[in-house]
Amino acid sequence: MKDRNIPSISEFGAELRNQGFKVFEIKAGENVVRTYNRKDFYKICLVTGRSVVQYADRGIEIDAKTLFFGNPHIPYSWEIISEEFTGYTCLFSESFLKANERSESLQESPLFKIGGTPIFTLSEEQRSFIATIFQKMIAEDATGYLFKHDLMRNYISLLIHEALKMQPAENFFKHKNAAERTASLFFDLLERQFPIESIDHPMQFKTAQEFANRLSVHVNHLNRSVKEITGKPTSAHIAERIITEAKALLIHTDWTIAEIGYALGFEYPAYFNNYFKRLTGTVPSSVRTQTA
């Protein structure tokens, strides 16, 4: 009975992969746990109902109307307690959002913060306002509008702004430990190297060792901390960030591919080509021609 009206996982994933984006309504009685377990996408959920969220090393019980932001760096799970559990979910990939212009508020937002609290308790007024945004997104998603993705990014930004205007619900036990601090310093340092604005200032730190030196910690400690907090190795985070930046540079600049490679710390174009191909499955030039 639970499987009724639900697209299969592969169908669902295919749509996400092709578009980088998906928005849908959670109806009462549907099995939504599966969707909450997807960890390779950012998500924003508006939910009504009781549940327990395990977020990083904390557990928080939520009751009533809640807005939740999930990102791929922080592990979390979701247990639904009440029968009546409804709301909306929006999922999107990192490259979907980053195709947009960089904005300070997004960097500051609960989506990107490590150690923040991305759970917001809403009043009825706030809930209905946010619900209308989701409804508009669903309505727009059904259209064939040429710049639909731009419009969707706008709606996502609106959701983020709504959250930024609120205070997070800090009603749970939070333990800030050394690992979390180290991980958050690492992400700060990683993010501070971007955006790359000119070829004269290539990326400085590219390996976990270089980051560790800069942060004055042992590389083992850095790796352990990042892995503990995010569940992924340091190198994976660095690689993901480099690829995101590479795609942005390929699309938004007229630098040659060799120059982009150099700016990202690759001495020879072939290194950059191989690296890009290994991580994305395509060569840099194909990203450029796709969008040209």
Binding site: E101, R102, S103, Y145, F147, D150, S157, H161, L164
Partner: protein
């Protein structure tokens, strides 16, 4: 009808500190006081009967239109006899910021001409855009740190709403000009 909205000039003054300002009038709108602000692009939502002149040319309209007055040194003289209108000023800096410029240029490219540009709206669009302007009015006096980014997001919603019609090539909804 001239200068019937006395509060416009002082509202406009606020844009010196701010990057944008939206105001609403139920009486009819005289654009004259605002047109010296060449560093601000303007958008007007005009509902109902209006009579718009610029450089001695005039347009009479009886349906909702959205009017863009870009940064170019070009000014409208007046709009008369409208039922409900919104006017929105936003600064050159904001317009050139990455957040806003993308969609704005797409829309302006569809018009392919400089100077004031008119877009006819259907009722649904009119209601939607009026709703967004109301929302901006609610937000603009709060002290929210990223209010200008939020404004750009709302602005983009309006631009996309118009762009949807122009990209779909629906006859009767293509942009038009005064001259």
């Amino acid at each position: 009808m001239r200068n019937c909205n006395a509060s416009v000039p002082e509202n406009v003054g606020n844009t010196k500190q701010k990057l944008f300002k939206v105001y609403k009038t139920g009486l009819g709108l005289d654009i004259q006081p605002t047109y010296t602000r060449r560093d601000f692009a303007k958008i007007y939502l005009i509902t109902g009967k209006a009579h718009i002149c610029a450089r001695g040319k005039a347009i009479h309209t009886n349906e909702p239109i959205l009017l863009f007055e870009p940064l170019a040194p070009y000014s409208l003289n007046e709009v008369q006899g409208t039922d409900l209108s919104f006017a929105c000023l936003f600064s050159k800096d904001l317009l050139q910021s990455e957040l806003c410029s993308n969609t704005y240029h797409k829309l302006m490219a569809s018009a392919a001409k400089s100077g004031p540009i008119f877009f006819r709206l259907d009722n649904k669009q009119n209601n939607f855009i009026a709703g967004v302007f109301e929302q901006i009015i609610l937000e603009q006096d709060t002290s929210y740190l990223f209010s200008h980014e939020l404004f750009c997001n709302y602005m983009n919603l309006i631009l996309h709403e118009v762009l949807k019609k122009t990209t779909a090539n629906i006859t009767g909804y293509q942009p038009f000009h005064l001259n």
